[in-house]
């Protein structure tokens, strides 16, 4: 066998391997799409009786009555959005602070312990957060924090309605706080990683020009890592929207819409977790699956909004990560 033949055979073998490799990665990608498609189809199929029966009223009404078999998802949607937004408001500044501290300000010996602590926080199962929220956080909120909020913030004009009501210790506020604690590790870990990718040269040039740490962070680090930050924030928001166990413990599981953050409510995933086992009529089960569809749509909308934001940032030439 000549060396040319051997080389040709070697090439053919390589091509075959290449083809198999390519086909298998394609198969993996297609499998994912099939799975996603299967989820969507079976969700829609299960939810169809509810959507068919209630039409738009399923989204616009807040009745949830198993006795008369009438279901509307508005209170669950409201609770999902309110708790998630509250969690983002509480978690964002803290996560940002953690990331800035870890990348710019912390002495090297402190970086590792704090970083590991954040990763540990991310590894705690959500049911632990739920139990902690119910047994530790809720009594504190009920006995000291919420009476104060009701007495002081509740008297403010305009926003007062947000902070009025009997202190249950369980409700939107408690759920928002627990969710915030749960998503802080995710957001801060992503933001820290993105901040780490900012080239030292850029930062050093900033400092060299006489900029303060504040100025370097806001004018160099943040603009450079904006798209990555948005990714981290969306990851946290996605987790907050779908979180089930921890929220079920502290939200109060009441199908109602209240202006007050101190009142009990429910979320989409909490309602499903609570009621699925005992949903005795087909329409009831179907309505719960329809709630699942809505959560799917909301999560998808969040991801789509994030993509759009990144696109617009990219066009303005600010996103470089």
């Amino acid at each position: 066998m000549s060396s040319a033949e051997a080389f040709a055979r070697h090439l053919a073998g390589q091509r075959l391997r290449e083809r198999i490799f390519r086909a298998s990665t394609l198969a993996a990608a297609i499998l994912l799409l099939l799975l996603l498609g299967g989820v969507v189809v079976s969700l829609l199929h299960g939810a169809w009786p509810a959507f068919d029966r209630f039409r738009l009223a399923f989204i616009t009404q807040d009745v949830w009555n198993p006795v008369t078999n009438r279901y509307g998802a508005l209170s669950a949607i409201y609770g999902t959005v309110v708790t998630s937004v509250l969690a983002m408001i509480l978690a964002l500044p803290v996560s940002f602070g953690i990331a800035v501290f870890l990348t710019e300000l912390a002495p090297p010996w402190l970086k590792r312990p704090v970083g590991v602590a954040i990763e540990l926080l991310a590894a705690i199962p959500s049911i632990i957060f739920g139990i902690w929220g119910l047994f530790v956080l809720a009594p504190v909120l009920q006995e000291s924090v919420e009476p104060w909020i009701d007495g002081h913030l509740g008297k403010l004009p305009l926003v007062g309605a947000l902070f009025q009501g009997a202190p249950y210790g369980i409700g939107f506020l408690t759920a928002g706080i627990v969710l915030a604690i749960m998503i802080i590790p995710f957001i801060s870990a992503v933001i820290r990683d993105v901040f780490d990718t900012v080239p030292d040269v850029l930062k050093e040039s900033g400092y060299g020009l006489g900029a303060t740490t504040w100025e370097v962070i806001w004018k160099v680090v943040v603009p450079y890592s904006r798209s990555g930050m948005i990714g981290g924030i969306m990851l946290g928001l996605g987790r907050a929207l779908g979180e089930t166990m921890a929220v079920t413990f502290v939200i109060g599981n009441a199908h109602q819409i209240s202006a007050s953050l101190l009142a009990p409510g429910t979320t989409i995933s909490a309602a499903i977790a609570n009621e699925f086992t005992e949903a005795t009529t087909p329409l009831y089960t179907s309505s719960l699956i329809a709630l699942g569809v809505l959560l799917f749509v909301i999560t998808f909308a969040v991801i789509a909004a994030a993509r759009l934001m990144l696109l617009r940032l990219g066009r303005r030439g600010l996103a470089s990560v």
Binding site: V67, T277, E278
Partner: protein, 343 residues
């Protein structure tokens, strides 16, 4: 690790021995499966444990909730389902099912009021209905004061706690309120879950119990066994005879004594708000549901197990606050089995 593998060796041999008996049918001799009500779970578990040591028959019971129990027995995946809400004769016939009662139990109002001890608070059905409809919102409401002249009721908001999941406990509670309050009947009604006009929901009896213990000024309803276990503050109630009663096994059985299970078709009987000076107003029962078209040998195993429980497991039931069925009812159940299952 060594200790672990040594320990598991006999277990592995046992598995092998089981696997080698490959010809066993789905419901193997010595194995019966059931699912349903969480309420009756402590009783079935206790009976099953004693029954296994006596007869080597193993009863596996999954407390997945009454709705789940009904669905699974309809689908034929379990030999029996347990529900705290009886099915009507029409539904039973339509799905080829039969049902019979298991034991009598009760539930009560629990509360969290500083300075007020267990059994001190007195409530009546209409007042409870008004509280759970959000019409009575403070503990020092005149209606509550009138029932409790000797108690220093605090000026505190009432936090209503109900079940967030569907439940036979809720069905029994709402059924009672429907009987004593026309407004509850027309606006809320009775089912395993209802559209609560007010309050917050806890998952399971334990969820309601822990919310009530945690929230000052809270009121809720739980099964009597949970009150005993958690030493909760419970209320005494005015029953339909206008008498003041304390929750107890005797009071639940008194409610059942006023009902003739033997005359009701398919034992469809609701034990709430029964007459009788000693009757506890919120008494309830759990039904076992079987398929008429299941293998006869499977149904036989199930009925034998429950018959053993009715006859031999009475003191076990009483020890966990379940009232045994009267002998006449057990006799009627035997006749019912004969007629419907040929057993």
């Amino acid at each position: 690790m060594k200790g672990f593998s040594l320990k598991s060796l006999p277990a592995r041999f046992a598995v092998l021995a089981l696997a080698s008996a490959a010809s066993v049918p789905v419901f193997a001799a010595g194995q019966i499966t059931g699912a349903g009500s969480t309420w009756v779970y402590p009783l079935v578990a206790k009976w099953a444990d004693a029954y296994r040591t006596k007869t080597a028959t193993q009863v596996n019971y999954q407390p997945i909730g009454s709705g789940g129990g009904i669905a699974q027995v309809e689908a034929g995946t379990v030999a029996f389902g347990a529900s705290d809400k009886p099915l009507t004769s029409d539904v039973l016939r339509q799905h080829h099912l039969v049902q019979f009662p298991t034991a009598i139990a009760g539930e009560d109002i629990v509360y969290n009021l500083p300075g007020i001890q267990a059994g001190q608070l007195i409530v009546s059905g209409p007042v409870v209905a008004d509280i759970f409809m959000g019409k009575i919102t403070r503990w020092n409401d005149p209606a509550l004061k009138k029932l409790n002249p000797g108690l220093a009721l605090p000026d505190m908001p009432i936090s209503v706690v109900h079940r967030s999941d569907g439940s036979g406990t809720t069905f029994t509670f709402a059924n009672y309120l429907s009987k004593v309050s026309p407004q509850w009947k027309s606006q809320v009604g009775a089912d395993t879950s209802v559209a609560w006009p007010t309050g917050l929901g806890g998952k399971g009896n334990e969820g309601v119990a822990s919310y009530v213990q945690r929230i000052r000024g809270a009121i809720g309803y739980v099964e009597y066994a949970y009150i005993l276990e958690n030493h909760m503050q419970y209320a005494r109630m005015i029953n339909s005879a206008g008498k003041l009663v304390t929750p107890s096994l005797a009071a639940f059985q008194s409610a059942a004594a006023n009902v003739d299970f033997t005359k009701a078709q398919d034992f469809y009987v609701i034990l709430t708000d029964q007459p009788g000076a000693n009757s506890w107003p919120i008494s309830g029962c759990t039904w076992q549901i079987l398929r008429t078209d299941a293998q006869k040998s499977v149904n036989e195993q199930v009925t034998q197990f429950f018959l053993w429980g009715f006859e031999q497991g009475q003191s076990m039931a009483e020890s966990i606050a379940f009232g045994p069925l009267p002998a006449s009812t057990v006799q009627a159940i035997k006749v019912y089995w004969k007629q419907n299952l040929g057993i």
